[in-house]
């Protein structure tokens, strides 16, 4: 029996704010501009739709929180999925190589990185108990792997418990929420949840993940300063991170 070729596509999610919908439409169009054969799944809050969402190949509706992305990740229709934050824009044909990079690697997931050198663009990265290194904004994952499916489900469930339901936070020896090592201000960040899962949960020690080569090209924050973030080529995906005080401050999300 022949091995079946995995399905491949991009996943975009837009919820709550109309701007996210506009950004997402722009992103989808920009993917198709540079990679016309690309398959796109779009998770969107139904009340944001004005018809333009029909450019996506698969549409599913999500709720109205800021983190519907985490639900979207569990609903991808593709085996190999490249998730992109809605406020990104594809600017280079190399975007078509993203699935080849995953297949050529030994990894279940390829992330972009949060690094010390790029810290001037992040709202938060280090805390007494560790430092965020994986960027959950743009990444490609193999959803055929059970451990990856589990990670996406746990990421969603744990974040909901951490932030919306307020029923989980790491505990200290006295059995209280450990805000010394893990500041309360990190509760809002789903990237903290990702950090916790891959660093502290035994099950995910088996997870194979890596940083995509020349990763800044795949998540080029518009405020990156070129001389401080060297790359081997022009940006493939520019990230315009929503919610920034545009010209003076850092981004409104982690990365």
């Amino acid at each position: 029996m022949q091995n079946q070729e995995p399905t491949k596509g991009f996943l975009i999610v837009a919820s709550m704010e109309r701007n996210f919908y506009l950004y997402a439409i722009n992103l989808i169009e920009s993917i198709k501009d540079h990679y016309p054969e690309a398959q796109i799944a779009f998770g969107v809050s139904e009340y944001l739709c004005d018809g333009r969402e029909s450019i996506a190949d698969h549409i599913f509706y999500v709720g109205d929180t800021q983190r519907e992305k985490l639900i979207g990740l569990t609903k991808t229709p593709f085996d190999l999925t490249c998730y992109l934050d809605a406020d990104c824009e594809v600017q280079h044909e190399d975007v078509a190589t993203v699935f080849d990079l995953l297949e050529a690697s030994d990894s279940d997931i390829l992330f972009t990185a949060l690094t010390k050198e790029r810290e001037y663009c992040y709202k938060a990265r280090t805390f007494p108990g560790g430092e965020l290194e994986l960027c959950g904004a743009n990444f490609v994952y193999d959803n055929r792997k059970q451990i990856v499916k589990d990670l996406m489900n746990d990421w969603k469930d744990l974040y909901w418990a951490q932030f919306y339901e307020n029923t989980w936070w790491p505990l200290n020896e006295a059995g209280s929420p450990d805000f010394q090592l893990y500041p309360e201000s990190y509760k809002q960040w789903d990237q903290f949840t990702l950090w916790w899962l891959v660093n502290k949960v035994d099950k995910y020690k088996e997870l194979k993940y890596d940083i995509i080569e020349d990763d800044a090209r795949w998540n080029w924050y518009a405020l990156y300063i070129e001389s401080l973030v060297p790359t081997k080529g022009p940006p493939i995906i520019t990230h315009h991170s929503w919610g920034i005080d545009k010209y003076n401050k850092t981004y409104g999300n982690i990365g």
Partner: protein, 155 residues
């Protein structure tokens, strides 16, 4: 305060090209072992033309060659720093322009005529516009096409 020792730090540099004015730090340790650093600007001679003993002591301890080398090194460092600051300023401005460009494109695609245009080529060019002028030009072309189509009764 009684001075137990006076040491001129070896990082002194010339303040002028004539090399008769120098910026330096004098480290004084008093009889109780307390150290005080004084940042000084010394001139070769006093106002009345007499010899400056501090100057002579500095030249004896650190030497003119070392001060010249420090001055050259400092000038290079300052120049590098200025270049780096200038580069970062330019790149930051470029990043800001990129963000403004992105917002302008999003706004353009909110214009009904552009939103509803079926001309993928022009819409793609608008998305790939590299500056605000291109955004305006491609927006205008899409709108003009719509007007022309309406006048000729085609779509």
């Amino acid at each position: 305060m009684t001075e137990a020792s006076r040491v001129w730090m070896d990082n002194a540099y010339w303040e002028n090209y004539q090399q008769d004015k120098v910026k330096c730090i004098l480290m004084i340790v008093d009889e109780n072992g307390v150290t005080t650093n004084q940042q000084l600007t010394l001139t070769k001679t006093a106002v009345d033309g007499s010899e400056n003993t501090d100057w002579l002591e500095l030249m004896d301890q650190v030497g003119a060659d070392k001060i010249t080398a420090n001055t050259t090194e400092r000038a290079e460092l300052k120049q590098d720093q200025r270049k780096k600051e200038e580069q970062e300023k330019n790149e930051k401005e470029r990043a800001q322009a990129l963000h403004r460009l992105f917002e302008a494109k999003i706004q353009a695609f909110e214009i009904d005529t552009i939103k509803n245009s079926t001309n993928r080529v022009l819409k793609s060019k608008l998305r790939k516009a590299q500056n605000l002028i291109e955004v305006n030009v491609y927006s205008m072309m899409i709108i003009m096409e719509d007007i022309n189509n309406a006048e000729s009764g085609t779509d």
